[in-house]
């Protein structure tokens, strides 16, 4: 999957789960940039991404990402 496609799919999941259609993800988006993104909704996001993309993150990965760029890296790696 191209990086651009990963970003679009993840962005759609963010919009859906956080119920905010104005969310735009970049490589440097952090939870400070999105009001609805807190530690609880993070879990909902992670589980939805796992389901939609058919991958599984480790417990360590879930808590390690500094920004969305690192999350995209992780997804890209898993999708091979």
């Amino acid at each position: 999957m191209e990086r651009a496609e990963i970003i679009t799919r993840v962005q759609d999941i963010f919009r859906d789960v956080l119920e905010n259609d104005e969310i735009e993800l970049s490589e440097e988006t952090t939870s400070d940039d999105i009001e609805e993104w807190d530690s609880l909704s993070h879990i909902q996001l992670v589980v939805t991404i796992e389901k939609e993309l058919g991958i599984k993150f480790t417990s360590y990965e879930i808590t390690s990402w500094i920004d969305t760029g690192e999350m995209f890296d992780c997804i890209a790696k898993k999708l091979g």
């Binding site: 859906d16 609880l40 879990i43 909902q44 589980v47 939805t48 599984k56 879930i62 808590t63």
Partner: protein
């Protein structure tokens, strides 16, 4: 099942019109998502859940401290979720010689919870986690975690019989159905301390809300069944009663047999079974009468409707015979067209979306847990018979042109007494089930009924009604509260709709007025609190000669008992 996201969205709706229920959630793991799911599932059940969530891992403090937030909030339902994970952690850190008393220790704490926490408690039992320290041999070792855990669940079933404010929510059964790999997500647990996976949450919330809804009187009373390809394989009209698919051996007949066994158990528990089929009636009855593989017999069916009318109209007919609300009915039909027809015309009826393969029917129906209840009494088993008798009474009535002659011919006898050990379960159950003939719709548990009986400020009456066709059992409950020396207030007046139009309410009033006179009271006040279902009794008090009281906020009536002339009625009182 609605997803977690959908449940969360429910909370954005306007819930101000829904009845409010106060719920507390206390757990030893993170329960925020569970609490959200329960509120969202509450909306699905028609409740606005006002929720208090205690801080994480505060079960002991909240219960032990009389000044805790838990007691300050005073919830109608306190949900306590102590997880197997945390119990296992405790066990693993214990000295080996103490491990053998793990279950007993936790059971003592649960008893304490029941004594301390007011109102109703919902306690999750413990799904298995096999720690494989002993392998299967753990079954033989009393100090093993497996042994202690299963003992705990077993003893919990004994405790719940002692404390009537306690309800066990069967998380272990849910986990057995879906499996721990589905119920538990290790990465979610590690990063959040949440024990339930996002996918499991709606199911857990649903099982929890099932208990709350049942305790609030929302229960299913009747199962309406299609016949061809629902209760047996094939079409009886084409294939003949001897060639339908039913019975053991290889093949799909087995699935239908097992479905019928399930329905038979429901019938034995007191669920009314009705048939609604597009068939000729005699053809439709043939398998019940002639096919030896049929588990269900005509005796099991309270009302049998087989004709070529549309099913929505037929369900209206069933409703008028059974006198129960549409929302207490479940309709099973393999045909999506019929299902949609019923759903569209009578949206209150629950219509399960049966899977295509009849082999999947039963597991699917198990997953819905449609028949949750908070009470069960021996008399429930006779309900089908009573509805069959009612059909006989209706046909006798047609022979009489004069209502009085008909009532006289029934030879009705009523036994009047207070609440005792024997009838308390039934009294509580009626208070939870009766919606239509119920003036104030107050719901009572068995424990609350016992408290009322012991309180000298209350006068309580139960009435049975028998006639020449049979015994209806306990069908009417009156609870009166002493307001002052001269005044009684009718806290509860409810009656089963099975005995409408027999003059039972006249007999009831005669009885309570006579009692009030003997005890020196001058007046009885009645109140009507409207709900969506009790319009039937809107004019109950005026019809009985009560006079409306002005300048009060609710609809209240008063009866001056000095000038009371007993009504004529044709029921004899049976004195013990």
């Amino acid at each position: 099942m609605k997803s977690f996201t959908e449940l969360k969205r429910n909370l954005k709706k306007d819930l101000s019109q829904l009845p409010k229920v106060k719920v507390t959630v206390v757990g030893d793991t993170a329960t925020q998502f569970l609490a959200t799911s329960i509120r969202g599932m509450g909306v699905e059940h028609g409740f606005n859940i006002e929720l208090f969530e205690a801080e994480y891992n505060q079960v002991e403090c909240q219960v032990m401290d009389p000044n805790s937030d838990l007691y300050a909030f005073n919830a109608d339902y306190t949900i306590i979720f102590q997880s197997t994970h945390k119990l296992l952690e405790k066990y693993s850190l214990q000295k080996p010689e103490l491990q053998v008393s793990l279950a007993d220790e936790r059971l003592d704490f649960i008893r304490l919870i029941c004594q301390q926490v007011p109102r109703r408690i919902i306690y999750y039992n413990y799904p298995d986690i096999e720690d494989t320290i002993f392998g299967s041999f753990a079954n033989q070792v009393q100090s093993s975690f497996t042994y202690q855990l299963r003992k705990l669940n077993y003893e919990l079933m004994n405790i719940v019989q002692q404390y009537q404010n306690l309800f066990v929510c069967d998380l272990a059964a849910l986990s057995a159905k879906f499996g721990r790999d589905y119920m538990f997500d290790s990465s979610v647990y590690v990063s959040t301390e949440m024990i339930l996976s996002i996918d499991a949450l709606p199911y857990v919330a649903s099982r929890t809300m099932d208990i709350i809804a049942a305790a609030e009187g929302k229960i299913k009373k009747c199962l309406i069944l299609d016949l061809d390809n629902t209760l047996w394989g094939g079409v009886v009209g084409d294939d003949g009663w001897e060639n339908i698919q039913i019975g053991h051996g290889l093949g799909i007949g087995k699935a239908y047999s097992e479905l019928q066994q399930w329905i038979k158990k429901l019938k034995n528990r007191g669920i009314i079974i009705a048939i609604c089929s597009k068939n000729n009636e005699d053809k439709a009855k043939e398998p019940f009468e002639k096919n030896p593989e049929m588990v269900l017999k005509l005796d099991d069916i309270a009302v049998f409707v087989a004709n070529w009318e549309n099913k929505a109209d037929n369900i209206h007919t069933l409703q008028s015979i059974l006198n129960i609300g549409f929302d207490s009915m479940v309709f099973l039909d393999d045909n999506p067209f019929e299902r949609n027809m019923v759903k569209k015309n009578i949206p209150e009826v629950t219509v399960p979306e049966l899977p295509e393969d009849p082999g999947d029917y039963l597991e699917y129906l198990y997953s819905l847990n449609l028949f949750e209840t908070v009470s069960y009494s021996e008399g429930d088993k006779d309900r089908t018979k009573q509805y069959q008798l009612e059909t006989k009474r209706v046909s006798l009535q047609r022979k009489f042109t004069n209502e009085v002659d008909f009532l006289k011919s029934l030879n009705m006898v009523s036994e009047v007494k207070g609440f005792d050990l024997f009838n308390t379960p039934r009294v509580a159950q009626l208070s939870q089930r009766s919606n239509q003939f119920n003036l104030r719709t107050k719901r009572y548990t068995e424990a609350e009924i016992t408290t009322i009986e012991e309180n000298p400020n209350f006068a309580s009456f139960s009435f049975t009604l028998a006639d020449k066709f049979g015994d209806n059992g306990l069908i009417c409950v009156i609870i009166m509260k002493r307001q002052d020396e001269k005044t009684l207030f009718i806290d509860t007046w409810l009656m089963s709709c099975r005995v409408l139009k027999r003059g039972m309410e006249l007999f009831t009033l005669n009885t309570i007025v006579a009692w009030a006179k003997v005890h020196g009271f001058k007046r009885i006040i009645g109140e009507y609190l409207p709900t969506s279902k009790n319009r039937m009794v809107e004019q109950h008090y005026p019809n009985l000669g009560f006079v409306k009281i002005k300048d009060v906020d609710t609809t209240q009536y008063v009866l001056d008992i000095n000038n009371y002339k007993p009504f004529d009625c044709y029921i004899t009182s049976k004195i013990e």
